[in-house]
């Protein structure tokens, strides 16, 4: 008896899997997050439905739990789901101050070895900033560098922080940068460094970038000092295409570029890990003051989801959703508060859904 039910269950799951496979529907792990996270995730799901994107969502929670041995880790269901689906979309996570566990983002990074943080910064037509011609991508090495967390108190009043640069990580990030350039038809990659000051460490990073550049002759490779990049970025950002750099410089420059296009509320971001895992996220905070009031702006999460579609190869759907989003912002009729209007999140979402459906 048990055998027969088991047989039916298994065959049903197999059939379901086959059905999904035939329709080419891919499952994506969705981590709504905290604060405004659930609202914007719902918004993104609605827009994807309207666009008939072949995506099935699997919602998971990643609040840290204490595993065996006392080490903090993410819940095993979440980990399993990510490893199975390989692609994830994450909303903002809050890091409680006195909970005792490390930042959630750090935990995710360590669990899935997310070594590259990719942030494409493109000026949004309807959202005016003093910088109108930005179109660049910052690729930041996310596992080592200045954020190794290795610090010592040598004597009272003297602290030493260690910045770690390894050949392996530098080669990996450089390779990813050039692959990205090829896959997205970008023309040049610029390595950003301070090898005149940190001659050994950034020198190693630079050497690895140069070595990898040899294998990608179709992409132009240049190198530039960090201070020169900052100087030129605020004067004329149109000169830059893809920037690849170690951890700290990447953190600063990616936020600088986000500032050029209008802030963290409209900037997408993706984290690429080893074993093909990729988690796309919105980098803004959880905004607890407007949580639950239908005032949030889902643009950042939406553009990250578009990045995810491109990563998965679904360029048609990506273009559709992105155009709808930009059109809504350009029209300036239905904008959320942070973009300068006073519409609700649901109205903004509905407008984008309508545009997407009209496009078919």
């Amino acid at each position: 008896f048990g055998g027969k039910t088991w047989y039916i269950k298994v065959s049903f799951t197999c059939l379901k899997g086959k059905y999904l496979e035939e329709l080419n529907i891919q499952t994506v792990t969705l981590i709504p997050g905290d604060g405004i996270g659930p609202e914007i995730s719902t918004a993104v799901m609605k827009i994807f439905e309207a666009a008939k994107a072949p995506i099935q969502w699997e919602e998971r929670n990643v609040t840290a739990i204490k595993g065996p041995g006392g080490r903090w880790m993410i819940p095993p269901e979440a980990k399993e789901s990510m490893n199975k689906n390989k692609i994830g979309l994450k909303g903002p996570l809050k890091t409680p101050i006195a909970a005792g566990h490390p930042s959630m983002n750090l935990l995710l990074r360590k669990t899935f070895d997310l070594y590259a943080n990719v942030r494409p910064c493109v000026s949004i037509e309807g959202y005016k900033t003093p910088y109108t011609d930005v179109d660049l991508v910052t690729i930041r090495e996310n596992t080592e560098g200045e954020y190794s967390g290795i610090e010592h108190l040598i004597v009272d009043g003297v602290v030493q922080s260690i910045k770690l640069i390894t050949e392996e990580a530098s080669r990996r990030i450089a390779k990813y940068a050039f692959e990205y350039a090829r896959n997205n038809q970008r023309t040049s990659v610029t390595a950003v460094h301070k090898a005149n000051i940190m001659r050994m460490s950034d020198g190693l990073f630079l050497r690895k970038c140069r070595e990898v550049a040899e294998n990608y002759k179709d992409v132009k490779f240049t190198e530039m000092y960090l201070d020169t990049v900052c100087l030129n970025m605020v004067q004329d950002p149109s000169h830059f295409d893809i920037l690849v750099m170690p951890n700290l410089y990447g953190d600063i420059l990616s936020d600088l570029c986000a500032g050029l296009i209008g802030g963290l509320g409209v900037t997408p971001s993706g984290n690429i890990g080893a074993n093909g895992v990729a988690i796309f996220e919105s980098v803004h905070g959880t905004a607890p003051d407007i949580a639950g009031k239908d005032l949030a702006n889902p643009t950042a999460l939406l553009l990250s989801a578009v990045m995810m579609l491109r990563h998965m190869g679904l360029h048609g759907h990506a273009k559709k959703i992105e155009t709808a989003c930009f059109d809504t912002i350009r029209d300036e009729k239905v904008l959320t508060k942070d973009l300068g209007g006073n519409a609700k999140c649901s109205e903004f979402t509905a407008d984008i859904c309508r545009r997407v459906q009209d496009m078919d």
């Binding site: 900033t129 003093p130 910088y131 200045e146 954020y147 967390g149 610090e151 010592h152 108190l153 009272d156 009043g157 003297v158 602290v159 030493q160 922080s161 260690i162 910045k163 770690l164 640069i165 390894t166 050949e167 392996e168 301070k194 090898a195 005149n196 000051i197 940190m198 001659r199 050994m200 460490s201 020198g203 190693l204 630079l206 960090l226 201070d227 020169t228 900052c230 100087l231 030129n232 970025m233 605020v234 004067q235 700290l248 953190d251 600063i252 420059l253 990616s254 936020d255 600088l256 986000a258 500032g259 050029l260 802030g263 963290l264």
Partner: protein, 386 residues
């Protein structure tokens, strides 16, 4: 009555600049015209000039120094330069040269310099000559004045920031080693003593110049011990200056705010690497590396240079570099030497040329050469010797 007040200020000057050749000036009663009443008679010639060490550096440094010398000659400034050509990339660097520069500095105490370029390859020592000069002279504070130039509009106008950067420790410690093949460690050192020193300098500077707010820039959420110590030192010092508002901001948020709304900042103080980044960012906001002056201070010495330090090697020999930054810095140097009249003369001439907008170098969108610009400044000087 004016002579008495002037004598009084000259005496305080003599006390401040111990070692400068100032004693002869004290005994004369000078009818120096101050900037308030502009009369047409030139100041009485001092019978001794100030000696200033000059290190032209690499790239366009020598061209900029020539510009300074030309303007000083036309303005009849009582300053004499002692030149030293110290350069790592042109193979003109050696221990003896460095010693010569240091002993000259010990005599003169004031210097004007260009950027000594650091090549990326190193032979033996990881510290470059520029860093060693800074350490030997203990030039711990780097001050960059970011002021919008009237007449040249950028995306953000009417900016008025001061960026104070700790210059001797932090990420520029040059302590690196390859512990295992393929793994390099670079040490960043933060000490309480130096953090306190730069924080005190920042608050003193803010008090002296009448500024209202000091913002400390850090990354203490990640580098908890290192930048945490820096932040703690700043907070401790802030309590001693109740009239000055103190805030802190994380470096990446600071960069974002600087490009979106730079007016919220007044004086910024930070460790070494962040200072490098913010100096250049802020310089870019007002017009680039060619328009921002800067200086470095130690307890005994003052070195004047540009704010954003780049050798600009692509422009060597092409006569296109913008001497504004160096000229404004030279004017600050004259103010430091208490040659108020000449200082104002030079800075006003430079600002007038920029405001008129007819002669502009390439980085400001014009087609003039360095020579054209210098000639325009010379023409605009209020007082000229025949």
């Amino acid at each position: 009555m004016m002579a008495a007040t002037l004598r009084g200020s000259l005496v305080t000057l003599a006390k401040g600049l111990s070692g400068a050749r100032l004693q002869p000036l004290c005994t004369r009663s000078l009818s120096v015209t101050s900037s308030q009443n502009v009369s047409e008679s030139p100041p009485a010639r001092a019978d001794s000039t100030f000696k200033v060490t000059m290190v032209p550096g690499d790239g366009v440094g020598p061209e900029l120094m020539t510009a300074v010398k030309e303007v000083f000659k036309a303005a009849d400034v009582p300053v004499e330069f002692e030149e030293f050509h110290l350069s790592e990339v042109q193979n003109m660097a050696s221990e003896e040269k460095l010693e010569e520069v240091l002993s000259s500095m010990k005599n003169n105490r004031v210097a004007i310099k260009g950027k000594i370029h650091t090549p990326m390859e190193y032979k033996g020592e990881l510290a470059s000559y520029e860093m060693r000069l800074r350490r030997k002279l203990d030039l711990f504070a780097n001050v960059v004045h970011v002021n919008s130039l009237p007449g040249y509009s950028t995306r953000h106008n009417n900016l008025d920031l001061v960026i104070i950067r700790e210059q001797t420790e932090g990420e520029y410690s040059s302590l690196e080693h390859e512990s295992v093949s393929g793994v390099v460690e670079c040490l960043k050192i933060i000490t309480r003593e130096k953090s306190r020193r730069i924080a005190k300098f920042a608050f003193d500077y803010a008090t002296k110049k009448g500024r209202s707010k000091v913002t400390a820039v850090h990354k203490a959420n990640i580098m908890k011990l290192g930048d945490g110590l820096f932040l703690q030192s700043c907070a401790e010092l802030a309590e001693l200056y109740p009239k000055i508002k103190y805030e802190n901001i994380i470096i990446d948020n600071c960069c974002m705010q600087l490009v979106q709304n730079p007016y919220q900042f007044d004086v910024l103080v930070m460790p070494n690497l962040y200072g490098n980044i913010i100096d250049n960012l802020a310089a870019g906001l007002v017009g680039g590396a060619g328009v921002v002056p800067g200086e470095s201070y130690s307890a005994e010495y003052a070195v004047f240079e540009t704010g954003a330090r780049h050798p600009f090697a692509q422009a060597v020999g092409r006569n296109i570099a913008n001497p504004t930054a160096m000229l404004l810095s030279a004017s600050n140097m004259l103010r430091h030497l208490n040659l108020e009249y000449h200082s104002n003369m030079v800075s006003e001439a430079v600002k007038k040329v920029i405001k008129q907008g007819k002669v502009r170098t390439r980085d400001l969108g014009g087609y003039s050469t360095t020579g054209d610009f210098v000639r325009a400044v010379v023409d605009n000087l209020r007082h000229r010797t025949v």
